[in-house]
Amino acid sequence: MPAALKTNAFLPVSQLSASRFAFIFTFVFCTLLFFSGKSWASDQSNAEDSSKTGAEEFDAISTILHHVLDNHDWHLFDSKDQDGTLHPVSIPLPIILLSEGQLDVFMSSAFEHGHATVQRGSRAYEIDNHGHITESNGHSVLDFSITKNVASMLIAVLLLLIIFTRGAKSYDASSGRPQGIAKVVEPLVLFVRDDIAIPNIGDQYKKYMPYLLTAFFFIWINNLLGLIPTGANFTGNISVTATLAFFTLLITNFSGTKTYWGHVFTPHVPLWLYPIMIPVEMVGVVAKPIALMIRLFANITAGHIIILSLISLIFVFKSLAMAPVALGFVLFISCIELLVAALQAYVFTLLSALFIGLALEQPATDAHH
């Protein structure tokens, strides 16, 4: 049922290809839903040592954390042997490590789900339960792997490139009317321009349009991809939101006018308050992007945790009767999360535009300070 909701968002693209797309999308979605259900069923034993066949205690917290955090492979489901041992089935992802000035690249399947050590030259790599890769000889390791989050982001980037470059080409040359996919793309682009950029930034909005548009659609589509079962929690990762917020920080402060910096370093207060006010103002400069970072991270992660907790209820109660109740709630929360996905992209972009607009402040407009 969430599949219908998601495919609806893509329906107006073009009649023929849209229906085909909707069919494939629904099919893939249902398949994933089926397998993810299986993987949930197996997670309870996965959390524990799989060699133990006795008491299978379901640890909801570690299971949820495992799914909310990043991973070195894309876990799909587990399969059970004849003798009852579980084998996780996942898509292996490339691991890229920098240690001792040497670049080592291999697939995550080489770790055999944490059971094997990978030997590259003099370096032996091990992976722990949390996905941290260490070097057995104690050398420091820099991990630039294509993790589940990076892979999900690359898919999102590919989708964005396809949708928007095709959208830009779908204009009727003579009349300039949008055709096909541009009919969907253009209102969204104009929404960012007319409802986010122009009201908050003003006349100089054009310079900031590429950043705002890219940020809006990048966050939105990654939020949506994260809602697909087995999807990554990309925008709910603090590293990602920190990176995006850091871009806003850079853009805001590099476009700061004299008036803006004047507010920071020469506030309109008595001189003896300066030792207090200047640090407070400088904290304010940094706190705004940090708030952006925390907001996006916490909202998306919270959404994932709620959905995962509701599904965990089935395994906590160990009862199939719980399934319809939990799924009902999951459906309800998923609908809200679809809204939140768009809303958080909007809020991030809106506040970025607002901060940029504040940094561009001209002396004439600050009469009320």
Partner: protein
Amino acid sequence: MTTLPGIAAIGAGLAVLGAGIGIGRIGASALEAIARQPEAAGKIQTVMIIAAALVEGAALFAVVVSLLVAG
């Protein structure tokens, strides 16, 4: 060991309570304002979302602190 996460959870709950009251008041005021001036609905909505996002940001700081304390 068991008391600290419990206290952190209570802290997170209190933060959510505060944010709930704050966002509720923002929503109520926005609703009144839109009822009084339906033609300004778009502008009020934007300001409402900004205000709600700021309140929410403060609450999320508290929740993240609770997460840290809970370990």
